[in-house]
C-alpha cells in the first residue's frame, strides 16, 4: 500500500497545476482517495470565500485520482458535475472521492469537498466519469 500511495503522490507531483495550488495526497487506495488543500488568500473570490474554480479543481482532480486508482495511471476526466453547497473559507479543504462503478475503460466516481475543522462542513459535491486515455 505504501508503494501504491507513493505512485499517487508521484502523479500528483507531476501535475504543475496541483503543485502551483499546493495540493497534497492524504489517502490513495483502490477506489478511494483524499486530496488536501490549504486555502491561500489568492484562492478567494470577491466576497472572501474560496473561489468556485478552486473547489471544481478539487472535485476534478479527486475524481481523476479515484478513477486512476482502479483504471491505472493513464486516465482523464471525461466530464463531471459539481453542486456548491455552502461558502467555504478554509483554512483547509479536504476532497474525498470514491469509485461507484468500474467498467473496462471507464469508471463513475463521486466526490465530496469538506472544510476541515472540529466539525467538518460539506461544501461541494460532484459526480463524474473517468476514462482510460485512448478510450
Amino acid at each position: 500500500m505504501a508503494n501504491f500511495k507513493e505512485l499517487g503522490r508521484r502523479v500528483l507531483e507531476s501535475q504543475p497545476f496541483s503543485r502551483f495550488l499546493g495540493a497534497s495526497l492524504r489517502r490513495f487506495e483502490e477506489g478511494v482517495v483524499e486530496l488536501v488543500l490549504e486555502v491561500r488568500p489568492e484562492f478567494l473570490q470577491q466576497h472572501g470565500f474560496v473561489h468556485g474554480g478552486v473547489l471544481s479543481y478539487l472535485v476534478d482532480n479527486a475524481l481523476t485520482f479515484a478513477g486512476g486508482s482502479i483504471l491505472g495511471e493513464n486516465v482523464v476526466t471525461v466530464e463531471f458535475k459539481i453542486n456548491y453547497l455552502r461558502p467555504a473559507k478554509g483554512p483547509v479543504l479536504l476532497a474525498r472521492a470514491q469509485s461507484l462503478h468500474r467498467g473496462s475503460r471507464m469508471a463513475v466516481c463521486r466526490a465530496e469537498v469538506f472544510e476541515e475543522g472540529e466539525v467538518p462542513r460539506l461544501v461541494a459535491v460532484g459526480q463524474g466519469t473517468i476514462a482510460r486515455t485512448g478510450a
Copy 2:
C-alpha cells in the same frame, strides 16, 4: 455599454483567484460574456496539457459572469457540469458563456471554452445554474 463592461472588469479584478490565474474580460454584455486566459506552464497537468481544473475554473467563472450580467452583481454559481472534449495546450484560452433563460432569482447558462488560433478549437463545454445570493 462601456460602463457595463467596466463593472464586469471591476468584479473580475476583485476576485483574487482570477487575478492569480491572470484571467481578463474580453466581452461583458447582457447575457453574453467572454473570459480570456493565457496558459502558463504552471497551469498544466502531467501530460503537458492544460489541467482540467483550469478549464473548470473558466467554465465556472464564465457561467457566473453570464448570470451576473442579467441578474446583477450578487450572484453565485449553484452548480454546473463540464464535458472535456479535447486536450488543450493554449497559448490562449477563450471561455464564452451565454444565458439561456432568466427567472426572477436564477439563470441557466451555457459555456464553451476554445483554444484560440487561426481555427479556434472547442475544448470544453458546460451548463449550469446561477442564482442571486440570498436566493
Copy 3:
C-alpha cells in the same frame, strides 16, 4: 411518520405520469425516500434493457421527493445529472434518494437506482438541485 409517508403517497398518486408507469413509494422520511418500479415490457429499449428515460424518471422523481421531504410539498427539480452504470432488466427497480444539504429555498440531493435481487445491482446514480416553487 405514518402520516408523513401517507402525504408522500398522496403526492405520488397525484402525478399522472407516476401512476402511468406504476411507481410506488416504499420509504418517505425526512431527507430519505425510496421509489419502486416494476419493469414492464413497454419500459425497454431496443436491446431488451430498461430505457434510459425510465431510469432518468426514477432519478428525477426520487430527487424531487427527497427534496420535498425537507422543503415541503411545493418543490420542483431545478436540474439533475445522471450516470448510467450498467444495463438494467428488472424485474424491479428501486430508486433511493437522500438530501445532502438543505438551504432555505433549495436542497441538493443524490440518488441511486438499483436492480433488486438477492444482490442488488447499482444501475444508475444521480445528483441534483430541488427548489421550492416560487424560488
Copy 4:
C-alpha cells in the same frame, strides 16, 4: 438521406418505451436530430405540467440519437445533465439535439426541448456523453 432517416425511424420504432410514449422522429441527419412528442394527460405531474421524467426521456433519447447519427447504431447514453427552465404544457414537445464533438468511441451532444407553438418556448436543456457499446 431518406434511407438514413429511415434507419433512425426503425431504431426509434424498435424502442418499446418510445412507442409507449408515442415519440416520433422529425429529423435525423449526421449530428442533428429532432424528436417530437404529443403530450397526453398521463404525462403530467401533480400541478398539470409535463412531468420532468418525460422531459428527461426526451433529452436522453435525443442525445442518444444525435450520438448514434455519427457513431453508428450501437450506442448508449453514458450520462447526461438536464436543466428545467419553465413548466411545459404541450400540446407538442420538440427535442433537438446536436453533436458538439466526436471522438473515436464517444460523442458529446447537447439538447434543447421546446414547447411548440407560434413562438416556441425553450423548456429544458441538456448536455451528455454518448458512447459506442463495448466502449
